[in-house]
Symmetry: C2
Amino acid sequence: MKQISVMRSTLGRLPIYLEFLQGLDISENENISATVIAKSLGLGEVQVRKDLNAVSGAGRPKLGYRTDELIKRIYEVLGRNDIKKAVIIGAGKLGNALLEYNGFRDYGLLITAAFDIDESKAGITEAGKEILPLTQLEEYVLREGVRIAVITVPASSAQSICDRLVGCGIEAIWNFAPCALCVPEGVLLQQENLALSLAHLKLTMNNG
Amino acid sequence: MKQISVMRSTLGRLPIYLEFLQGLDISENENISATVIAKSLGLGEVQVRKDLNAVSGAGRPKLGYRTDELIKRIYEVLGRNDIKKAVIIGAGKLGNALLEYNGFRDYGLLITAAFDIDESKAGITEAGKEILPLTQLEEYVLREGVRIAVITVPASSAQSICDRLVGCGIEAIWNFAPCALCVPEGVLLQQENLALSLAHLKLTMNNG
């Protein structure tokens, strides 16, 4: 499947467009324009036009986009036809919050299980997700073909977890532990710093 | 206090520099250079130089920065001398994870309490933070002089919570609910989309 590179901000708005388009009666809305979408959602027209252009090229003059084709393209760009499994290492409060979070499905991501060193946490969550003992990590990742992992363990054990993930073939890691991790070339690493968003807001407030 | 505008990525590294500088014996390290900091922390020298330049101007040729002044400047930019209180609305898994998260202190942010509509959640957490009934929100915010709030309630109640926050004088809102919020001019709003970081990682993986 062809994937294109879209800006993160565009990616953030695509599920909103999709929900709107899917709510339309296609028989009465065979075509749809950026203008109509912008007005219906209360968004800026220039922004909507730019977003749609990034995913589906310029619309046809006067007609705009074919609604069904636009839905299909947004689906493709969001990767909803290409579901990828991910696991979480560390079933503390944050790990559990992410395990329960529904928004990942919008982007074709399925968090299937969390692992924890504390075996007493093992079981099935209310939402039906598995929490497994950390000892089963490698076997699970290989068996289920998981390629993405989220690290929510304390900083002191993050690198050793990271090494184990790389060792069993994980290709992309999202790290919430407040420490820098080393990964070999070819493994994608994204560092999350939750405090930073709030810090940025605070500083903007001070400067405003 | 003078605040300057630094890039988000720089802001993310400042606590690392600060920890390193504070670990130095100042009597033996009166001056410190970007080169030494970069080598000690395994970071790129160009990046460190740029970061330090943003917070404290260019270092003196050959000498670099006065260690004590650099520490003071990083403190100022991080806003650690200007502690701001914040509250969380919604004491579900995510709200609790944020309430427990320690990294906010690095940026002079103190999350003092969480509020929940479910009064049975009221009490003191293991980390000593208060969870209060939502009915006490306005009184608490006014009494404690809170100006920052974090919304972690479901999308269906986020706008009404937002209106209540604005109504009692909150000036900056960090919204985790997956919906767009309306705030009056002068109120800062930052939308968080947790799924987006992982989605971005997934799409990068597909394109790689």
